[in-house]
Symmetry: C2
């Protein structure tokens, strides 16, 4: 349903290692058109890894906000349309050194649909088997694995220490699973 | 804490009506540097408006995903550093035609810190007084106000119909307030 937005065309404005910024034009009514800029993203997957009542997070430096941020493991799809469970297993192995044998989809969501099509799948990851971690890129190499009792992670949700959208969604969903 | 990322400089690659795409360089160790692209965003505020056991959502067309999306009311800060409560009241008035007399901060989070500094404040909005709505922009003009019993909104969280990050966070947090 295009809700009366008739796509006229677009021009690629800029391209980064994984994003495309496009300028689009739409006719919205007789004689009226609008311009909208959108960022194309390949999509990403995040996991809430649970081991013996603990959840495994990572603390990594994020240049966009010039801060360390405590997050659940996550990563971009290698290409748009990659099976999200494949991405989930890979990112879990790479970032925390565990291979999950059981994945349960918790939520699928657009991170910020006002300007990007980025879609994130968040899985609960269980039955984790230890493997060698294979950090990719300097942020991951320097990331610190932070294993917390679930109650402590949920305390950090409540007190505002968790400030990453996918991590909030993953932990709030875990809390519901846990208390159900 | 820069975690060993020493900022060298940046170049503005592109600018849209509200975003800036910058290319930055960092020295990460002796003789090693990396390039990172980041999107600057002015920040945004979202509200979970509750009236007599109902929550008020809006359904609007999002060009970035070429779909209608069911969301809580939200909007960008007019300028970086605008008091978020001011933004909250304005967006609530503009988008659904209610002025909230009581705002409670539920969460503050980065939408997708892997590439942007966008920060969203989500408030619970209560004691709502009816005012004239003042939609801004074609998407808002055509948006549909959707008032749902809280239980129905939470059912849509559970069954995957709610696919917007800020709306998931707002409604999952509301559920906790409600059941507390």
């Amino acid at each position: 349903m295009s809700n009366g937005f008739r796509f006229l065309g677009e021009r690629l404005i800029a391209k980064t290692s994984f994003l495309e910024l496009a300028r689009r034009h739409y006719v919205v009514s007789e004689g009226r058109w609008v311009r909208r800029e959108v960022i194309r993203h390949p999509g990403a997957v995040a996991v809430v890894p649970v081991i013996a009542g603990d959840v495994v997070l990572i603390s990594q430096y994020r240049v966009a906000i010039a801060q360390e941020l405590l997050e659940i493991p996550a990563g971009k799809c290698d290409e748009p349309g990659e099976d999200p469970e494949t991405t989930a297993v890979r990112e879990c192995e790479e970032e925390i050194g565990y291979r999950p044998d059981r994945l349960t989809l918790l939520h699928t969501f657009y991170t910020t649909p006002g300007f990007t099509d980025e879609l994130i799948w968040v899985y609960l990851a269980e039955e984790l088997e230890s493997v060698e971690s294979r950090p990719k890129g300097i942020e991951e190499e320097r990331a610190e694995v932070v294993r917390l009792p679930i109650d402590e992670a949920l305390r950090r949700v409540r007190n505002g220490e968790i400030r990453d959208a996918k991590t909030l969604i993953g932990l709030l969903a875990l809390e519901k699973e846990w208390s159900a």
